[in-house]
């Protein structure tokens, strides 16, 4: 299950990005995505993609997993790119690189930040009930996955799923999903009742206290680099390609090295 693995890598990792606060990483991600959307040439998009990929590939999650997360949306962008192909690769390449930048950025964000830390910052932009629903959903996903896995395992062992016709598998699958779903609802409701008993009054008081640390310097610096690079490319045009693009790639590589080398055990 992809979300469970993402959560595992986000919680266990020890790279600089893992140690940075969620606020700094959200700032970086928002800046990168905004710059990618506004990039109107492939050179700018390439520089931004280099920064995002440098971070993504150095957070010490398995490369195949990270790249699968980053390239999955690019497959859909490729369909658009192929549709507009007319011999010139500039605009299709910009589309692909924009998509790659955004997906790599988000992948790097979720692979280094546990979901509760992300949701914790969302209450500044979203109503309380939405954040609460997000938290309950996040919790329910893991309850559901565990319950459904158990139900499917027992179904498989009893021959009710995994063998035979499509119709039989569909029926068995529906029973597995249904039973898992009903159990998950029971567990979620019980969790809600326990929360009420413990003083929950329609408001989740987060115990998360994040303090600015030296590790925040990297995402903040990269956010500034992304903005400076995008502005330089737009203002200077051809001149910037010779200077700003190699500079952005060099910064991306250097930040990747810093992120990868300065690993720390989170338990220590």
């Amino acid at each position: 299950m992809r979300i469970a693995l993402v959560d595992l890598y986000a919680t266990r990792g020890g790279s600089v990005y893992h140690r940075a606060t969620a606020a700094a990483k959200i700032l970086w991600a928002a800046t990168m995505i905004a710059c990618a959307i506004l990039a109107n040439d492939w050179e700018t998009a390439l520089g931004l993609a280099a920064i995002a990929l440098a971070v993504l590939l150095t957070v010490r999650a398995p490369a195949s997993f990270s790249l699968a997360l980053a390239f999955y949306p690019v497959v859909f962008a490729l369909l658009f790119a192929l549709a507009i192909w007319r011999g010139s690769f500039a605009y299709p390449a910009t589309l692909l690189l924009r998509a790659l930048t955004a997906s790599s950025t988000l992948a790097a964000l979720i692979l280094t930040t546990p979901y509760p830390n992300l949701f914790h910052h969302l209450h500044r932009f979203m109503p309380r009930a939405v954040c609460e629903a997000l938290f309950l959903t996040y919790r329910a996903i893991f309850i559901l996955v565990e319950t459904i896995e158990n139900v499917f395992r027992s179904l498989y062992l009893r021959g009710g799923y995994g063998t035979g016709s499509l119709a039989r598998n569909l029926r068995g699958g529906a029973v597995g999903l249904g039973v898992g779903f009903l159990r998950a609802i029971d567990l979620t409701e019980r969790m809600n009742q326990v929360m009420v008993i413990r003083g929950y009054e329609d408001r989740l008081h987060g115990s998360l206290t994040e303090r600015l640390s030296a590790a925040d310097a990297l995402p903040v610096l990269l956010a500034f680099v992304a903005i400076a690079f995008s502005v330089a490319m737009r203002l200077l045009g051809e001149t910037a390609i010779a200077i700003a693009l190699p500079a952005a790639v060099a910064v991306a590589a250097a930040s990747g090295v810093v992120n990868y080398v300065s690993i720390q055990d989170r338990d220590s």
Partner: protein
């Protein structure tokens, strides 16, 4: 077709930003309507959203189940925008559709849920829940696919700014697009409707009160 697998930076800004604004208004309306019933509905809504997320994140080649029809049947209509937003937001964080497309995707998903719920409510007065759920899901998927297709063709035909170049240069004929989309999608609708029908059959037998959220 509960959401569009379009990454960031492809759709024009006016489209996704407008969809975000509309979605925010619908979510706020839902929250006002939810009011004091929050404790009653929120755990179920969260579990339904989680089930949809789990179903949508399991890729079967280029297809995945959505279970939005099931969600529409099990939660009240005023909560569908909130549940749709949560589903698409979490999926976008997993790289499943762009983060800027969350508003547009949520609108499509919420429409699908609401249509499925309304049809189910009407049909289940006379028909068995499983049969009503099958037809409700099938029609809801057909409606949302048609909406997305209409949107693509609308963008393609107009001289709209920004990336409309993409659509103008499309060389495939409109009728071929329509035939291809419906031809492939109908297989998914049948499978999805059958799965939702089987799930509703189970819920109707084990926990029939869950189908009475409309009352």
């Amino acid at each position: 077709m509960s959401h569009i697998h379009i990454p960031d930076g492809v759709l024009p800004v006016w489209l996704w930003a407008g969809a975000f604004v509309l979605m925010a208004l619908l979510v706020l309306f839902g929250l006002v309507r939810l009011g004091l019933e929050r404790r009653r509905f929120l755990p179920t809504a969260a579990t339904v959203a989680a089930l949809c997320i789990v179903a949508m994140s399991i890729e079967l080649g280029f297809y995945h189940f959505n279970l939005t029809g099931l969600a529409g049947i099990l939660i009240p209509p005023f909560l569908t925008p909130l549940v749709a937003f949560i589903i698409n937001f979490v999926l976008a964080l997993m790289g499943h559709g762009g983060i800027t497309v969350v508003g547009l995707n949520s609108l499509v998903t919420a429409l699908e849920m609401t249509v499925a719920g309304l049809i189910f409510r009407t049909l289940s007065r006379r028909w068995k829940p499983s049969r009503s759920a099958w037809l409700a899901t099938f029609v809801a998927l057909a409606v949302s696919t048609t909406l997305v297709l209409a949107l693509v063709l609308f963008l393609r035909s107009g001289g709209y700014a920004v990336q409309m170049e993409v659509m103008e240069r499309f060389t495939v004929s409109e009728s071929l697009i329509v035939i291809l989309v419906y031809g492939v999608a109908i297989i998914g609708w049948v499978l999805e409707a059958t799965l939702v029908s089987l799930l509703i059959n189970l819920v109707a037998r084990v926990r029939p009160q869950m189908l009475e959220v409309w009352k």
